[in-house]
């Protein structure tokens, strides 16, 4: 290999790493100010009390698509129905399940098919019917089940849910997610407190593996005790408490998580709903909503709230992780091929000038650059050309910086008050943080590259089922919520 190429790569890596570290430091500082503002002005109990007794509290619809979820659907729907909020409805979209998901719902909630005048505001696969309860239980009256032909994607099912919701705002979640009891109060508040129109709100999500759930409610939060969900929990916490909080501060949020996010229904419909062909449908949705608002010349906000509102089950093994990350990698690549006109485009404000270039340079390109780095180190090692006197300093610097970031997110987590039940549980985070750069990160680089490869060569991708182990339950029993 020519020496100039080695020199060029060396300088490139130094500059790139410096930029990555600087961006992380800048985001950590911005996130601190965001959390400080939240800590100074926000009082959860006070907000809940105010909203509970007000007739002005807006209604919220929860849309949860379900596909072959017969093992968990009843517990999870009960969990959604037992949320605390004055005016909400739960819309479960049965996306043509091949198992007994729909039958179980009908049986457990005393549902009956009703004559419903369905209007396709967003195009979806054919609608089969809408079910409502005959029971006198007031909690069940909040439930609506939509049955439709399988569309093959979560996006199509979500769109069918959006077509039938009756409130101005809807929360999109997965049927396997465990929601915090007061999650709806927390997620609606930014839309009410902002002086600008809030089109989407994202809340912090964590892994439910290892935590204890009773009657569909999280009763004890613990970190996952197996490595892959633990790594993912650390990754999620870092992303929500530093990345998204910082971007929310400057109104440059890139994404509202598909696991738990709230959207303005009117803007979603005007933006065309979720794209069924997208592998990053949540990110694509936010981009199209922002595109619509900017093209219309309207002011908007996309907000991240620091409190944990939702727990989801992380991939339990490498096979599922591979599928998830390959899909994310492919989705990111696809996203940029669809929305490339927004990058460096002043019309799209912070999103076009800051967020998209940042993702392009530091998220989409990173796996390629890192993979080149690994190959280069391997080649140097074979050629016995590694300078061991200097490489350790660079490695130590990056490693210590990764530990610093973990310490910062633990402090933020404690600051915003969404901590684990036992403080010593954070030692698991420390463990994950020490192992992550050595094992987890290189594997994810490989999975992301696989996703890029599949997108470039147009390999057909099937939406695989997420293998669920289910959350730990303190008292396994059939629970019936009351309003």
């Amino acid at each position: 290999m020519p020496e100039w190429m080695l020199d060029f790569f060396g300088y490139f890596v130094v500059i790139y790493s410096t930029l990555v570290i600087s961006s992380y430091i800048a985001m950590a500082v911005l996130a601190f100010f965001e959390h400080k503002k939240h800590y100074t002005y926000h009082d959860d109990k006070y907000t809940i009390e105010e909203l509970k007794k007000s007739p002005y509290t807006p209604g919220i619809s929860i849309v949860a698509p379900a596909y072959n979820e017969e093992k968990t659907v009843i517990t999870n729907v009960n969990s959604l129905l037992s949320l605390d909020y004055p005016d909400f409805e739960v819309v479960i979209v049965n996306d043509g399940s091949k198992d007994k998901t729909l039958e179980l719902l009908i049986e457990n909630f005393d549902l009956v098919k009703v004559p419903y005048a369905y209007v396709e505001k967003i195009k979806t696969k054919p609608f089969k019917g809408l079910y409502k309860t005959q029971s006198n239980n007031p909690a069940f009256k909040r439930l609506t089940v939509v049955d439709k032909v399988n569309g093959g994607t979560k996006a199509d099912a979500s769109n069918a849910g959006v077509n039938v919701v009756s409130n101005k705002f809807f929360v999109c979640t997965d049927v396997d997610c465990v929601l915090e009891k007061y999650a709806l109060y927390r997620i609606i508040w930014p839309t009410m407190a902002s002086t600008r129109r809030v089109i989407a709100v994202s809340a912090t999500m964590r892994m439910s593996n290892g935590s204890i759930v009773e009657a569909g409610q999280m009763v004890e939060t613990h970190p996952p005790h197996s490595l892959i969900p633990l790594f993912q929990d650390l990754e999620y916490t870092r992303s929500f408490l530093i990345g998204k909080s910082a971007l929310s501060r400057i109104n440059a949020m890139q994404n509202v998580s598909g696991g738990f996010g709230m959207f303005d229904r009117e803007i979603v419909i005007k933006a065309g709903g979720y794209d069924g062909d997208s592998f990053a449908e949540d990110m694509d949705m936010v981009a199209r909503m922002i595109r619509y608002m900017c093209d219309a010349g309207e002011d908007y906000r996309v907000v991240q709230i620091p409190e944990t509102c939702c727990w989801t089950e992380g991939p339990p093994n490498f096979k599922v992780l591979n599928r998830q990350r390959t899909r994310w990698g492919r989705g990111l690549f696809q996203f940029f091929s669809v929305h490339k006109d927004m990058v460096w485009n002043r019309n799209y404000r912070q999103y076009g000038m800051l967020t998209l270039p940042y993702i392009l340079i530091f998220e989409l390109s990173a796996p390629v650059i890192e993979a080149c780095g690994y190959l280069m180190v391997l080649w140097l090692f074979i050629e016995q050309a590694i300078n061991y006197h200097t490489i350790w300093v660079a490695f130590l610097g990056l490693y210590i910086f990764a530990q610093l970031l973990t310490t910062v997110i633990v402090s933020y987590d404690l600051y915003v008050g969404t901590s684990f039940r036992r403080k010593r549980d954070y030692l698991w985070f420390a463990l994950a943080s020490m192992l992550e750069p050595l094992f987890y990160h290189p594997i994810n680089v490989f999975f992301s590259l696989r996703g890029y490869w599949k997108h470039i060569w147009g390999t057909q991708m099937v939406w695989g089922n997420m293998t669920r182990k289910g959350v730990q339950s303190a008292k396994p029993k059939k629970e019936v919520p009351n309003a």
Partner: protein, 397 residues
């Protein structure tokens, strides 16, 4: 032999020099990385120390709160539940407080959660006089004043919230300093405090502030304040005056109309109707229509029908709903609704009209079935949808 004592900064310099000279033969990039790693390590240690100190402090606080609950809760409850007005001396004796009782800031702060818990439990049945005197015995008003005057914005905001939560007494002069402060959130809390406890006319600031942004958060909070004032016999604002005299803030006018509706001020209906006739703003008109509909103001029907033909899409929906709510049984209105149903092509409006016709008394029900009998089979699902009482009526909007 000479001994040198280094100061803390000299130690730091000495360390950096060692780091520099030990790595002097390395390229600058490596030296920068080494210094960066050291700084990162120092930060990690500092943050960890901070976390440990904070955790220790919060666990100590929790212990003090538990002690306070154990020591004062029952005595405080006894004082607050005594129906006759107790003398300050009696209260001190009942609380077992020493004669020259003083509390430190932290003790006051940690007593608030206990008081809040008690207030939540008994606020509907307690003696307000004794509650206020008990707060005096614990020197809470002085504590709140000190907090409101402190430099920390968080302390000020928390103090205002605590005063509201505990129905405490804070001098108006202290709170009024922040009524026009630049910090919007602090300003909101100061104004809410004034609106809740003000004895003269505390809503003047809303009328006089040209930069007022009346968000949904304020709508919720001010409504709760107004409910509190009406329950406690305090002066209420003249909503009609807000509708007429505050043209600078459209949101406030809409809020006033909604409050007329929620407080069922039927005496203002005639004036609202005359405002509707002259109104050009769609949101304001919709608020008035909704208010008149909710208060079953029958004289508004004629104006509603007149407006309907030239109204915008949103206003039409509200007008149809309002006509349905008034539900006077008037054949003219029913004919109007049926005619419009037959003429309109828009799905949402048709469904809404159909729902109104279906619920418009016995004649309305008859008209509904006549329409059903004459409609094409493609539209039969609309009628079945309306007839099905299991479907939420908002679902077609």
């Amino acid at each position: 032999m000479e001994y040198y004592t280094l100061s803390r900064y000299a130690y730091l310099r000495y360390y950096v020099l060692i780091l520099y000279y030990r790595l002097a033969e390395y390229p600058p990039v490596v030296r920068v990385w080494a210094i960066f790693s050291t700084l990162a390590l120092i930060l990690i240690v500092s943050i960890l120390l901070g976390i440990i100190l904070r955790a220790a402090k919060s666990s100590a606080d929790l212990m003090i709160i538990a002690n306070n609950r154990k020591r004062y809760y029952d005595h405080m409850k006894e004082v607050a539940m005594t129906p006759r007005a107790l003398e300050p001396g009696e209260i001190v004796a009942m609380l077992h407080l020493p004669k020259n009782f003083k509390m430190k800031e932290r003790q006051n702060r940690l007593l608030i959660p206990v008081m809040h818990e008690l207030h939540q439990e008994i606020h509907g049945v307690m003696s307000r006089v004794n509650w206020q005197r008990m707060l005096q015995a614990f020197k809470m008003p002085a504590y709140f004043e000190e907090q409101v005057r402190s430099r920390s914005i968080r302390k000020r905001v928390v103090a205002f919230k605590d005063v509201i939560d505990l129905d405490a007494n804070l001098k108006e002069a202290v709170a009024s300093r922040y009524l026009f402060t630049k910090d919007r959130k602090l300003q909101i809390h100061a104004r809410l405090h004034a609106a809740r406890f003000g004895t003269s006319y505390p809503f003047k600031v809303l009328e006089e502030d040209p930069n007022l942004v009346f968000t949904d958060e304020l709508v919720v909070k001010y409504h709760n304040v107004l409910v509190y004032r009406s329950q406690n016999g305090l002066t209420m604002p003249n909503f009609i005056r807000w509708c007429n005299r505050v043209p600078i803030n459209e949101e406030l006018r809409i809020f006033a109309v909604n409050e007329i509706r929620l407080f069922k001020r039927r005496e203002d209906c005639a004036e609202l109707l005359s405002m509707l006739e002259n109104s050009r703003d769609e949101r304001f008109s919709c608020a008035i229509i909704q208010a008149l509909g909710d208060m079953d103001y029958v004289p508004a029907e004629k104006e509603f029908c007149r407006r309907y033909l030239s109204a915008s899409f949103t206003e039409r929906q509200v007008l149809a709903e309002a006509l349905g709510r008034i539900n006077s049984g008037s054949p003219e209105v029913l004919n109007f609704l049926v005619e419009d149903f037959q003429q309109t092509t828009d799905y949402v409006t048709r469904m809404r009209l159909l729902r109104v016709i279906y619920n418009y008394g016995r004649h309305g029900r008859d008209a509904f079935y006549q329409l059903k009998a004459t409609c094409s089979p493609d539209y039969a699902i609309y009628f079945e949808h309306i007839e099905c009482n299991l479907i939420d009526s908002r679902r077609y909007a």
